[in-house]
Structure formats: C-alpha cells, structure tokens
C-alpha cells in the first residue's frame, strides 16, 4: 500500500458552461475513500451539474475528472460502473413493488440473484423497509421512496456514491436510518458525495465545499469552517423576543440579530464582553429574559455570513 491511497475522486480545474454561462468554474477537489463530502450552496450554484460531471453522464468543457484513477472523460463507461448516482428524483417505477424495483436495478447492473438478495435484505432491514417489500413504490411515503432509491443505488457495490439532495422531504428518523447506511459504506471505503441545502445534512459531512455561482469559495471540515465565522453568537432566551431584539440591535459590537423560537440570536464581535453589556441593557429596558449564553454557530449561520460577505465584495 502506498502512504497516500489513490483518491476516489480527483477533479482538477473543471469548468462546464451552458450557452456561455459557467455553471461550474475552475473546480478542483479530491475525495479520499471513506470520506463524506458535502457540496452546499444556494439554488443555481452548480451542485447538480457537479454531480452529473462526477457521475460521467456529462462531460466538462475544461479540466479533468478521475474516479479511482480512471479518466471520466476518456473512459466514461468504466467510470460509470464504479459510480452510483442518485439524482433528486430517482427513477423508481411507481407501479412496481419495492422488490420488483430492486430486481430491475440489480439486472441493470448485472448483479447475481444471490448477491442481490443478500444486499437487498441488509439494506431494507437497515432502513426499516422490510415490511414494505410487496408495496408498490407509488404507494410509499416520500421518506420511504428516498430509502428505496438509495437501496436501488446500492444494489451494486459502487466505489463512489453521489447523492443529490438525498433527504428532501424525509423525516428525521428516516434521515437517521439513511445516514446509518451511509456510515456503513464509509467503513467499506466508499467515497460519498452529497449535494444539499440543509444544514442538518451538511453537519454530517466530513468535509464541505461552499459553492456560489459555480465556484467553490470555501472547502474544509465543518468544525474548521466554523472558525471562519466572523463574530460570535449569543442566544438570549426571552419571552419578549421582539423587545429584546429592539433593545440590543443597535448596540456597539452587535452585527445582527434574528428572532428565533425561544428568543433572539445576536451576532457580536466579542461574546464574553458583549454578554454583560447586553444583559445590563435588557435589565435597564425592563425586558424579561431567562439567560444569555454563547452558542456555537450552525452551518447555516456560517453560510449566510460567508456568502453574504462574498456578495458584498
């Protein structure tokens, strides 16, 4: 074994244009086996285009893409045999049952009956789908459709798994099932790439790439990205959230204040110092509050802060 194992995915300077507009521009990224890489960004940032390029169903205009060392441009067929791509709307056959859908995709990938049965059983059990094997896909809830899509995507043994918005409309319990399966695959050295706009999902990735207008502006682990957050966040728990916000919003060192269910989140330059000042101001203003505590920024906080800053430049 080499010290540095061959990356599962290696994209260099990839650009893709549609009618003169760059959907993806100068993208370079490498993913190691077992990594869960998340592409996050607003609508139209290029997430879906990247997934299609990595799946070798679309060719880049410039740059190179290699999947386990295989050139995706020169050899798309071989690349596709190692990649599984689950688009936003996975093409399930609604009038076929769960089992029949799995059979169909297994045949498509030339999987033996024995291997198929074994994998299907394991995947369906892991996602709590076993009782529904005879149900038609069209009769499944949104969450179950997504889990069936994942099962079909994994019926062969891909080395790279590409998931575009995999859990849109899926409830948290199903989402956990989904991620449990993904964690199992990591152990087998599968590289997983997820495109998502939900922070629930982004927080689960080992690394994130923040996209805007086809460019990757930031790329790092969620923990290290959070250190880029300009300022710190104080959560004020108050039943008089609007008054609390009005009292703190214009104060020195306060960069922003948004209402949340339990009170206000305030972005400040220095949490330790401003917490005391805000506390005093609220007391003077006779605003009832329970506590002020410093909280870790969420990926969404970070996102909005970084991308808004980027736009302003």
């Amino acid at each position: 074994m080499n010290d540095a194992p061959k990356p599962s995915i290696e994209a260099r300077n990839v650009t893709k244009r549609f009618g003169g507009v760059a959907a993806v521009e100068g993208l370079s990224v490498a993913c190691a086996p077992g990594e869960v890489f998340g592409f996050v960004g607003p609508d139209g940032a290029g997430k879906t285009t990247i997934m299609r390029l990595l799946a070798a169903v679309m060719r880049p205009d410039e740059g190179s893409i290699a999947i386990e060392g295989l050139d995706a441009v020169a050899d798309p067929e071989r690349v596709r045999s190692r990649v599984s791509y689950m688009p936003q709307r996975f093409g399930l056959y609604e009038d076929l049952t769960v089992d029949e859908n799995i059979e169909f995709f297994a045949e498509l990938f030339g999987i033996s009956r024995r291997e198929r049965d074994e994998r299907a059983e394991r995947l369906l059990a892991a996602s709590g789908m076993t009782p529904f094997r005879k149900r038609r896909a069209g009769q499944l809830s949104g969450g179950m459709k997504q889990k069936l899509g994942l099962t079909c995507s994994l019926i062969h043994t891909p080395r790279v798994l590409l998931l575009d918005e995999p859990t849109a409309g899926v409830d948290p319990v199903s989402r956990r099932d989904f991620w449990r399966i993904l964690y199992g695959l990591r152990g087998e050295g599968v590289a997983i790439v997820v495109a998502t706009s939900y922070l629930d999902e982004a927080e689960r990735c080992t690394r994130l790439g923040l996209l805007r207008d086809g460019r990757m502006l930031y790329c790092d682990t969620p923990a290290r990205l959070k250190t880029l957050m300009p300022g710190e966040i104080l959560a004020i728990a108050s039943r008089e959230a609007r008054r609390a916000r009005d009292v703190v919003a214009e104060r020195d060192g306060v960069k922003g204040a948004i209402l949340m269910g339990d009170g206000v989140h305030v972005v400040v330059d220095d949490a330790a110092r401003r917490a005391k000042e805000l506390e005093a101001a609220l007391t003077r203003g006779h605003v009832e509050f329970d506590e002020i505590e410093r909280i870790a920024p969420s990926i969404e906080d970070l996102f909005v802060a970084l991308l808004t800053g980027e736009k302003a430049r």
Binding site: P42, D43, G169, P172, R176, D177, Y183, R239
Partner: protein, 320 residues
C-alpha cells in the same frame, strides 16, 4: 409585543379525531394558538400533520371533536373560516405560465380582494417578495427562493389572521430560507398566527412552540427550549473519533447506550446517567482498540428529542 401568551386565541383544537375507515389519522388532538404566535408541527411522514391542517382549514370535517379558527367553528362555517386563513403548500401552487402580477391578481380574486384594496395588496405582496420591477416576469423564470416568497405573498393577499404553511421551504437554499423566516416573523409581528409544518430541526428552532405529532397523536408541545430541557429521558453523550462508523458499531452492543446515532462526524449516545455510563462506553472502545478524541455530555438537540419521542417504530408504524 410578541408575547404569544398575551395574544387572543386564534385556533382552538379540542379533542380532534379524524378516521378514514379503520385508520385513525388524527387522534384526540387538542391545542390552542394565539395571535402573533408561530407554531410548528413536527412529525414523521404520515403522522397526521397535514390532516390536522386540512381540518383547521375547513377542508375536512373532523369525525369528532371541535375546532375553532378565528372564533368560528370550522365544521359549521368552513367558508367563513377560509376567508380568514391563508394557505401555502410545498408545491407553491403558483401558475408557471402566468406573470408575478397575474398570479397575485388571480389569488387576490379567489379571496375576493377587489379594486383599490387589490392594487394595494398587490404592491404589498410584490414588495414583500422582493420582486419590485419584476412584476411582469413569468413565474417559470423565477428560482425556488423567489417563487417561495411570491407564494407567501399570494397566500396573504386577503390579510388573513391565520396562516397555514405546509412544508414551505422544501428545496430552497439556506439564504432564501432565512429570508423567508424573516418574512414570517414580520407577519407574526403584525399579529398573524402562523402554523407551519417542517421536517427540519433547524427550522423548528424558529418556532415559538413546537407540536410534536406522531401516529395521529400530539405527543409533546412546548417551546424548543422547553422540549430540549424536559421532553427527553436520559442524557446525551457526544463521542468523537477517527472512525465513527466503527465506534457506532462497537457501541450499539453496549447495554448502557440506549441509542447510538451518527451526528456530523461525531455520534450522539443516549444514556441514563452520563457521569456513570461514560466508563462503560470507554471500556468498550478500548476493548475494540478504537481511539476517541472526545467523550462529553451535551445538551440534547431538537433532533435528539424528536428521535427519542417518535422512535424508530413510530416512524415506520405510521406509514403502514
């Protein structure tokens, strides 16, 4: 003032039941919501959230129990209830081949908004959606975030006192979502009572109160903070290490670990007593030769609460 407890009551659900044949979609659901309050319905697919909303909108008659919206009995006065409510679904129900203005006119017309009031409300909705100058753009040409804000504008053309939003932010990006919530708060600030369903915990954090619904029943009701403080049994341990997959597998067999779930690159372990049970967790990891960088008690997240209260069986059972 946003003190929800001080506002007048806008919605009363009193032991609502809805049966479809043998299936009980809504089972004895009772709650109240007030002027200016944002209440979130959270629950797995098929839990009964949408059915409850359809009853409150006067679209479905309850099998038993009573619902009052804007002071009106929904079963007796469904039309008058509908004059007082706005509704927006995840599909946005806008007409793609009509312009922004034409869509708003259409929805205004449906709600009987006419004349000068119509043009005023149209301006308000365009402004709120941030679509000034783009009134003649086709809806088909708008991106998800704009469509969403326009759909919200359409839903409030008639200045409803109560607004129902059914998974309104499915498929929009974080910035658009935040802007959307900003609008929701502005409406609530003017006194609108907002009921919203969502699957996303980050979104639930924006709600003043959360109603957790599972298998047709209301199983918890409280502010996000209240639910995190008191709705959960046991405590949460955060475990971080290089190989979370292997750690997950190793800990699933530890009796003290009542539940183990991946969470980011770390794991959340539910235990009865964090101080006591940490030893059993460490022992198992050592036994398997797994290293860890962190094991510490943390406050439960809303997702921890949701998963514990709803549980695996609930989510699956509800779909049957």
């Amino acid at each position: 003032m946003n003190d929800a407890s001080a506002g007048e009551i806008r919605i009363v659900a009193d032991r609502l039941v809805k049966r479809f044949g043998d299936f009980v979609a809504v089972n004895e659901v009772s709650f109240e919501a007030r002027r200016g309050e944002i209440i979130g319905f959270l629950g797995p697919n098929g839990a009964g959230k949408s059915t409850t909303i359809r009853i409150l909108c006067g679209l479905l008659r309850p099998t038993s129990g009573k619902a009052e919206v804007a002071g009106l009995d929904v079963a007796r006065y469904p039309e008058r209830v509908r004059e007082n409510i706005g509704y927006m679904s995840q599909k946005f129900s806008l007409y793609n081949d009509l312009s922004v203005r034409e869509n708003l006119r259409f929805f205004g017309g449906v709600y009987g908004v006419k004349g000068e009031r119509l043009s005023k409300r149209l301006d308000f909705a365009v402004d709120m959606a941030g679509l000034k100058g783009r009134e003649d753009a086709l809806v088909a040409d708008l991106s998800g975030g704009w469509k969403q804000r326009l759909a919200l504008g359409a839903a409030v053309m008639h200045e409803p006192a109560i607004l129902f939003l059914d998974e309104p932010t499915s498929g929009v990006d974080p910035e658009s979502r935040r802007r959307f919530w900003h609008l929701i708060y502005a409406l609530a600030g003017e006194g609108v009572c907002v009921v919203i369903t969502t699957h996303y915990m980050d979104e639930a954090e924006y709600c003043n109160r959360i109603a957790l619904i599972n298998g047709g029943r209301l199983i918890a009701l409280g502010s996000p903070g209240e639910l995190k403080r008191s709705a959960i049994r046991g405590e949460i341990l955060l475990v971080e290490g290089d190989d979370p997959g292997a750690i997950l597998e190793a800990l699933e067999g530890v009796p003290a670990a009542r539940d183990v779930a991946p969470f980011g690159s770390s794991l959340h372990i539910v235990v009865d007593d964090a101080a006591r049970d940490v030893a059993a967790i460490e022992a198992r990891l050592k036994e398997r030769g797994l290293s860890w960088s962190k094991i510490e008690p943390i406050k439960p997240t809303l997702e921890d609460v949701f998963v514990q209260l709803v549980g695996g069986d609930g989510a699956r059972g509800a779909a049957q």
